[in-house]
Subunit: 89 residues, 4 copies
């Protein structure tokens, strides 16, 4: 994984989430809190896309070029699964 | 594409959508209409997952086992793109 | 419901869906089909938002200004439910 | 806001996110990281729904029963906006 970029993004989300917790503690306006949570979710989606991109360009290529049919099937099945889940969260 | 299953699902969605249009024409309760639209979207998500599954097991395997690096990159980039879009619709 | 605008949008989606079915029948490229399905979902989200907007400005106002506490609770609960579902489809 | 429950949920998410950061630092399997991020998003959706529910049962009722038409319109418009955004993240 190109973990530097992913880590940096996740730590930014961590800071953002800390800010949202303070907003709730200070009794901020509900809708403002919801909007910040939605911004965090958009940032997390971006992180997932980056991780998937790295995964496709490493593990997936290796599995598909390899000789282990079961492993190839497993790797492709996982991609469909995270895609399907991404439409639900 | 295993187009029989995909086609069958899309035609079911088409019938469902016709039903929603009738509901609106007959001035059905707003929330009931929204719920039916959400059911249609869940069905469409399922169709997309099926299409992606078929795509991974055909075009993507061919591209990754082939010698055309540009083509391989293109095919993998598309998957990241539809994944990223799936988090937005 | 401002049903003219909603109906018009739903009929546009119906035409779009017919086009996607033809794409599958003519064995179009998988990723292109997925992108069209995602465009349909974005259009359906827009329709749901319009319906919700109308609902808030009619039934919800009536229920909240009325004297039936049970009815008010029911109407507000439905909004939370469609919001929660909207994050899942 | 019933901020105790919301705060508790957000702090659980904070712990979960810390775990995901450690997974990336320890070079965990990409797909496992994506799945944990999706679980965090599902938890955040639940928090947003809880906040919206509280908002509807407080500010929204007050605004709709009040005499300030502009304020009422503003409050209802915000709900449509967060609903529409919820379909995009």
């Amino acid at each position: 994984m190109q973990s530097d970029d992913v880590l940096r993004r996740l730590k930014t989300v961590q800071g953002h989430l800390g800010g949202v917790i303070r907003m709730v503690e200070e009794d901020a306006y509900c809708i403002d809190v919801i909007r910040q949570i939605q911004a965090i979710e958009a940032a997390l989606n971006k992180v997932s896309s980056r991780i998937l991109e790295d995964h496709l360009n490493s593990c997936v290529i290796t599995a598909i070029q390899g000789n282990d049919i079961k492993e190839r099937e497993r790797v492709l099945k996982e991609i469909t699964e995270v895609f399907e889940m991404s439409t639900k969260v």
